[in-house]
Symmetry: D2
């Protein structure tokens, strides 16, 4: 009953097997390994983007930060939901990598920016000439921090606003696979076809050990990315181990299969909670993250049953939680949790 985060899960067997295979013999270092040679095309095919530049890093924090640093100047405003991971959970890494860009929090229910809220933020920023920061880039997270998703059409509406100011758009896809499964969108539909310029394509939370691909749809940005990655200390000498993870992750749609399972476990959990009296979800939960609210005293009961998850702020007399399922969550885990809830 481990629902703290999808990053508490291990790696899928297919990933571990690929790592073992990749360990054999010598390989060129710093991204010149043979697996990476193949992987460029594999990722481009996944995204139907034959020109895209593709790079691997090991953490989501740096995938996002490097992606933003390609498009945000030090004097830029980065527009993202107020609760976005880049705004709240990365200790200022985007500010570090951009040399001081300013994050502008955009409002919106359930962790989602709307054309209205984003439009207002865009309109009121950058109007002071040289005295204020300049509009720079829009960053959209899918799955959001509230566990909700954007459809490709919803993303397109936000990137259209960005484009009306000549701004590029970034997609934080730490849970990209879960978003694709939840919405039925392909990788292409979710990104460049919806106006996204650069995407952090997450593997770590969905069954890898630690790998994220940054996919840049404008290949003219490639060399700058390489320099920034090196300078950030994120170019792996034994790069083959990043390559191997990502190759296995994409092979035979493993990434989608793992996310399909994680989302199914999320749905099973959501359905179970919804059926219980005096409990509800604070946000829609189409993917693998749920924010239930329940009566006071429930935490103690779950704790004594051995359930692990994060407690969240709740209204007076109530309790709230964040539950995250993953590729390794079992039906038995979910049912045991629901039983403990009912007890």
């Amino acid at each position: 009953m481990y629902f703290t985060s999808d990053n508490a899960s291990g790696a899928a067997p297919e990933i571990m097997a690929a790592l073992a295979r990749a360990n054999d013999g010598y390989a060129r270092s710093y991204g010149a390994d043979a697996i990476m040679d193949r992987l460029h095309d594999q990722i481009r095919a996944t995204f139907q983007a034959p020109e895209a530049a593709v790079y691997l890093v090991a953490t989501g924090t740096v995938a996002n930060s490097l992606a933003l640093s390609l498009y945000a100047q030090p004097w830029s405003a980065v527009f993202a939901h107020s609760d976005a991971h880049i705004a709240q959970d990365e200790c200022g890494a985007p500010e570090f990598y951009t040399n001081g860009a300013k994050l502008i929090g955009v409002a919106g229910d359930h962790g989602r920016m709307t054309p209205d809220t984003l439009g207002q933020a865009l309109a009121r920023t950058g109007t002071g000439g040289v005295h204020g920061v300049q509009r720079g880039v829009v960053s959209i997270t899918n799955v959001t921090e509230a566990g909700t998703t954007y459809t490709p059409a919803e993303i397109a509406a936000l990137t259209a606003l960005a484009k009306s100011y000549n701004l590029p758009s970034h997609l934080d896809g730490a849970r990209f696979a879960n978003a694709c499964v939840a919405t039925g969108a392909t990788a292409a539909e979710m990104t460049w076809q919806a106006g996204i310029d650069i995407v952090s394509f997450g593997g770590t939370k969905n069954g890898c050990l630690g790998v994220e691909a940054v996919v840049i749809f404008d290949p003219a940005k490639a060399w700058e990315f390489e320099l920034r990655r090196k300078r950030g200390g994120h170019l792996f000498s034994k790069h083959r181990y990043l390559s191997a993870q990502m190759e296995a992750y994409l092979t035979d749609d493993l990434w989608l299969r793992l996310a399909t399972h994680a989302n199914a476990m999320g749905a099973r959990l959501a359905k179970g909670i919804a059926a219980l009296p005096d409990m509800h979800l604070q946000h829609p939960a189409p993917a693998n993250m749920l924010f239930p609210e329940w009566p006071a005293g429930t935490h103690a009961r779950l704790d004594s049953a051995g359930a692990a998850y994060y407690q969240m702020p709740a209204p007076q007399g109530r309790e709230a939680a964040r539950l995250v399922t993953s590729w390794s969550t079992t039906e038995a885990d979910v049912d045991a949790f629901l039983n403990a809830l009912r007890a």
Copy 2:
């Protein structure tokens, strides 16, 4: 016959096995895993430093850069050999992490600073009051970029100079194990007992997939390190995979056993080259890195024999090379290379 770099080798079987074991079940993320809990004490014991703060990162570039950033202000001078990795091979990562500190190249034969050359550099820097950069930190690399080593006494002589200016000293130990084996020094003798304040303790080049420990002998610096690591995007969510590598690396002195083998292969290669006519090593080669010089035409012969290594600048009519052995180099590799040389 693969001698390009020790980072072209794979990971040792003990490391891979540890990774597989660590994959089982759920684990707390971001460094709170159970292996890391044990590892703190294991590293402290290795360094005989019960108070040291210990952190893991995945690349040597960031181990060095974060270490320097704890001690160098943006207006500081960092003193290192002119050929040091931090000066030549990290695309300005130290400048990035320190927000602009200035690297001062220190001269010295065979990749080694001497008390004389370091003393001169220290004396002529920071004399301009507010107009010039201020003396900040001394960084020593062991094994050096020329494949040579410093003994603990030689390190102590350099750190004593640093201390005479109230400066801390950093040790870039990307090949720390090879240096310890080559000199017979313990980890403690090589570091804090010789006046080192912070060390990048390398695992990647010596049989790991990608892990380096930063050992900070002044634990008051711990929290700042954690913030800087996170901000740099180097805090792994699935941290257990870093922990597992390092635990296996230290267990039963694996790190020393792997380096002993690498150095033995280096010695076998050195001995073989020295016995050949018209060939010599440009630098002493006590560890696992050799810089032979040989007659023109040798590269072509080796190439057709299938040998892989880096070519280096050489005097007119001559050729030079860099050869690196590792934990996975075999005697057969060495002998085949020597045979090709002789042919």
Copy 3:
């Protein structure tokens, strides 16, 4: 009828005369001039702070940014009113000088933080351990961007909150003189006696050409300030011209006399507007900055009368303005403006 800003005024005759006197002969450069020698004690006396470190710069932007950079780490949160100059009008200069600190906007009517709003912002920041930015420094502006003021007691209430988190407090005193005159507070009462650690003491807007003093009550910070000022390109070689301005500004309470006049002109303007039908001030106006709201059509009438000021956003069917008086505003200016308003 020039009310756009107090920085549209020229310099007071006493300041110009001092500049001319300072021009005579040779002077040591970079802050070692004889006037600066005297000025240290003059500023310390003005602030009743015999230990304070005192430095001059030429713009308010850098006075604030350098002051913050002494106390905010790159991973720090800087708490300031959402409308503060450092947050809205300096193109990210504080982020530049702090290497990426994050400004947290604090709410509050009439441009003023309250213990409630600041307390809430402090409480909800820095609770995420290493994942979020850390509480760093509180910055208070007096006179505020809305033209209102804080009394020393109100400042003390805010700095007490800061101190409860062990945070230092900065005062942005671009209009420090106007605030002192408006509240009757002395420089000491307004700053260190109210818990302020560092103050940007403005001269430019109040009759100088371009000079601001940064007064640091903890002299241990002095040397770092000097390095940061030099590194920012703000150490003047012909420093005597900054010194001369500031010396004249403090001599015979010129700074208070100029602000007394500016505030009196503000009060005359406020009184005149209040007496007019269908007009009011959006914020209290105790100093030299007024934000009147009036019927649509008024701007056009004032414009044709030759009045200069900034137009501000207003409710539907209404118009709003910002009017700033200065040391050089005359009663005739004010009365002409009021006549144009009435017309």
Copy 4:
């Protein structure tokens, strides 16, 4: 007998008069003043560059640092003479404004890079792919730190090398007027006609209070410069005082007349010293800066005669000095100094 630096001199009467005139009445702030409106064209005419973008700042440090930041990325190498002011005397300001670019010291006698020494530095930098810093910009100082000058042809030879690597070239013209007078070159010949892309055109050392113009021959860089200047805290609110200095400086060739006098005083001093036994200049002295070497004991004699200047390192048994003349140096000053030397 004040020869410490040309920044120890005051401002020329024409400059002071212009400042007084500019003080009259109200003026738009932040560079929108009427004088600056005229000045754009005046500077463009001076440089015969009708498209150039032109900005004013108050210090040479920031003129250079901002100029470099327009062309050097954080991962760039900036090539300059090892003794250049940007390398030795600005406390890392170029590193700060470029967010960490690396200065590469280029050798050369008498403070001057040669095509040979610059060519070697260019050739050996940036050859390591992503692992090393990238060639960024060449910075040339004229008058050099050794008091020597480059002719336009010599500058063209250096910028041609830069262009062969597609690099832009910067001219640090803190003593631009002295260089033009010494070589007979016009402003255009010395800059864009010789391949310079951006120039720091100094006023401070040559009779202004504190003003430097940055002239950017590619106007596409203009907006970025404005943002960087503001963000650095270098946009003056009462900008008219910068404008007024520069307008007077250019009017009726005042800048050339002042430098002609300074250089003449330098030549008088040089001639006098050369005529004395056992004394010589260490570098040619075509402008206003001299580096004499003389017998031990001379400093003491000059000191007791009241001469002020900087002492420099000298060979055993000898003494050396730096002497700088300026617009305000008189023939009497020079002759008194020579008399003291002879005594």
